[in-house]
Symmetry: C2
Subunit: 497 residues, 2 copies
């Protein structure tokens, strides 16, 4: 059937859709979510159909197309396209099979992931897959299959190096900007470490948000490869390049009900490591009250799954379970965390010791795993690399290669509206809640307002006297500072006894 293109003048950013007038659709016995093939010249595209009841939206004899479909067909308003009915993707059969309790094979999972990436299945259809993974559970083989499928559906950073190092922290701890210390240490030691990081979703800052204070993180694949060639490493935002691209779509679907099947969580993380061709990986699982993982049993179980999955996809994986009972570092929020990192690398006495110790621990283990240091000597080696300012120079080299924004931490803009939170009694700090502190920092403007956040003066175990400053809240506007102060009333972020 020949139909006239109507430009709907909107991008859906999601599944490829063609809107037909109800009357035309009925002629082909089309139902909601059926598929049609559109052809113009030698270009063709398969889309999902949606129906317009009114002639105003899409008249009979026309077909409403969104930006993505117009682009793929190289067509414009008023052109004629040829429409024919086509089968639904075979991936829907696999999703149904999974719902019915069958284990999916690699080829089947790959079909689902490929159709997700090419916007061939609708959000409703993909939701059935996510729901099935959650309710039926995923076998280990399926987790491996999903990891591989996600890697294969995206681009890869390919390096000549025999050893490619990576680290990952499952999150839940405010501050904790170890990656920005480890990458310079390990690359200074001669290892390749092409680190891609995420931006914050629910935390005050992600590594990408923090690194962005000092250098550009929004690099093309070509720029990433050039940075690595110059310096052995990089610290970039993974979202800018198409690494394991199905992941974001799945996360969007999981969000409304906070669903996260364990197999999906594992696959999502490990696929990103596979995409950068990692050979050696350290996974950090912080455990503690108000962290993402609160029980040691859960942490150990998850740790075993990471190691098993790493083995299956050929990445040597070591898991450490660390203290997640309080924030690590003093600054929380992109700018404040970036300043901590700079102080630490420069050996400034204002640098947070806890972050220094953890970074040395993580880097030391990786140096040993990769054979750069003998067993038991890695931490000393890492310490030396920081102490000799090699790590600092290496950091600046990477930042320059990515595009330097700020030369000195003094130039980092910190939110100008501040509020000091004062101890109401004397005693010892018993607990600083990661959840509560993160919430206040976000309300103050993190991560979009980069200068916003919290600066902690005390950590767990510290003695405080009544009237001491416990932390300062920074915000870009008076209004947000007010909101953040109000939030303080609802929480008990710092417990003193």
């Amino acid at each position: 059937m020949k139909l006239k293109v109507k430009d709907m003048d909107v991008a859906t950013g999601e599944v490829l859709v063609a809107v037909m007038n109800e009357h035309d659709a009925a002629l082909f016995d089309l139902h909601l979510a059926d598929r049609v093939k559109l052809k113009r010249g030698n270009k063709e595209v398969i889309t999902v159909v949606d129906f317009a009841e009114s002639e105003n939206i899409v008249p009979k004899g026309s077909i409403g197309l969104f930006e993505e479909v117009l682009d793929k067909l190289s067509t414009k308003d008023g052109d004629i396209v040829n429409m024919s009915v086509t089968n639904k993707p075979i991936s829907l059969t696999y999703i149904k099979n999974k719902m019915d309790g069958k284990e999916l094979k690699y080829e089947e999972v790959r079909e689902i992931i490929n159709d997700t990436v090419s916007n061939m299945i609708t959000m409703v259809e993909l939701t059935y897959y996510v729901a099935a993974n959650y309710m039926r559970g995923m076998s280990f083989r399926e987790t491996v299959a999903l990891t591989r499928a996600m890697i294969d559906a995206g681009k890869k950073i390919k390096l000549d190096a025999k050893i490619v190092v990576d680290k990952h922290c499952i999150g839940g701890v405010a501050g904790n900007r170890t990656t920005m210390i480890s990458v310079p240490i390990l690359t200074a030691a001669g290892l390749a470490m092409p680190k891609t990081s995420s931006r914050s979703i629910t935390s005050p800052a992600g590594t990408a948000d923090t690194m962005e204070i000092i250098a550009n993180v929004n690099l093309s694949m070509k720029e990433i490869l050039s940075t690595i060639k110059k310096t052995g490493g990089c610290m970039v935002w993974g979202g800018a390049v198409d690494l394991a691209p199905a992941d974001d779509t799945i996360i969007n679907i999981e969000h409304p009900l906070s669903i996260d099947a364990e197999g999906q969580l594992l696959a999502s993380i490990m696929a990103k490591k596979g995409s950068v061709s990692a050979t050696h990986l350290l996974v950090d699982i912080p455990v503690g009250k108000d962290a993402k993982i609160e029980s040691m049993k859960e942490a150990k179980h998850l740790g075993r799954q990471f190691e098993k999955l790493g083995k299956a996809i050929g990445i040597k994986t070591k898991v450490i379970i660390t203290d997640g009972s309080q924030p690590i570092g003093n600054g929380i929020g992109p700018a404040l965390e970036a300043r901590d990192v700079m102080w630490l690398l420069k050996g400034d006495k204002r640098a947070p010791q806890d972050l220094r110790e953890k970074s040395i621990y993580v880097s030391g283990l990786l140096l040993e795993m990769c054979g750069k240091a003998k067993k038991g000597r890695g931490m000393q080696m890492a310490e030396d690399i920081i102490g000799s300012c090699k790590a600092y120079h290496q950091f600046m080299a990477i930042a320059r290669a990515q595009g330097l924004k700020i030369k000195d931490e003094k130039d980092i803009y910190i939110g100008e509206h501040t509020y000091n939170y004062i101890a109401e009694k004397s005693g010892t700090v018993r607990h600083i809640s990661n959840k509560d502190i993160s919430k206040v920092a976000r309300i103050a403007g993190c991560p979009k307002d980069k200068g916003a956040g919290i600066y902690l003066y005390r950590h767990k175990g510290d003695r405080v006297e009544k009237g001491d400053k416990l932390f300062t809240i920074y915000a870009d506007t008076k209004e947000k500072l007010k909101f953040a102060k109000q939030t303080l009333l609802e929480i008990d972020g710092v417990e003193i006894r």
Copy 2:
């Protein structure tokens, strides 16, 4: 936050959505599918948020609203509305609980259904509920709860009559237009029968499509009540009034993967009966090769569920398992089926005997169930009502009350392009596939092309000679007739041995 309304100039027909610029949304830490409350004057509405990345779609400081939200707020382009962040609906917690294997209570199911009807939950969120019902299964108590919730979420047809009759066929048999014979018989006997029917979804014709040939079926609640007052019954399209409205939304979600949890199927049907205040119900389950239900075991199981559910919601329910191994009646398609019905009621010798017998059987049982006939006498009574033309006059009275379109079956338009399908050998008809015949009829144009369809000259068990006409295909256009003829090559609709 005050935002300027931008009219998006489209109706979504689905969930209530407000589109914010990404930058504004970040200020409130909003994520995809979070909820906001919009207020203007004394009107307020809660919507799901979506994000626009570009200033072209929704600029900073503006909020993009679709028709439904504009209407609810009585607002227009350029107005100022007040936006505040609000919690996600509690129904999402219940959906999550169901996914985790918990049994839901009536109040919880009702919350989910109410939020579905008021477009407060997204398609993705509702998909999780449908998926959970399918994968976790529904307890009997949940099925009852869902039925009640669906009834309570919609309008009801309330009558003074102590006995209100209804019938339902689960479908899968082409033709089989018993309802249009039973309603006149039972109302002629003095019973109240406010029959609402569906339009075809996957069959060549629904009762509403067929009745529409003769009378208007698109009645308002007021017109329905007036028709019942005049005649004791009606035969209308249920979709025109808001009876159990959640059902359509759920069906749309089930369609892409052909999911249908048994509990949902039962609830969906019984809610419609509850909505017309039925007290006595006959459910017809046709069984046979190529019918919807192919095994007697499955039919019996389903029958027991109907009776149990009927009892639980106070509807006296009787189930009959009938022969579904071939089409019933000769005409298939709205016009051809309407003509069969008229012939039958008028006592014309061209009327299909199988349809007459089945209608008498169904009506007889209902007359007995409702105490209008003694046990064993119902069928004779039904036969007499048809034979005396009382049923015909009653039918015409109902049709006139609804708005008559055609006085005589001679005026019914039948598709002008025809093709006769001829027996290639002599023998006995062993099988006529409902699925195959329905497929050909739909390709010929049913149900949208009302004159399209198939007219059968032979039924199962009939003797045929080589060269006999087995059936005629009718279509409105040459092209569709051609498509239908092509389809004949792929099927073996009539088996002769």
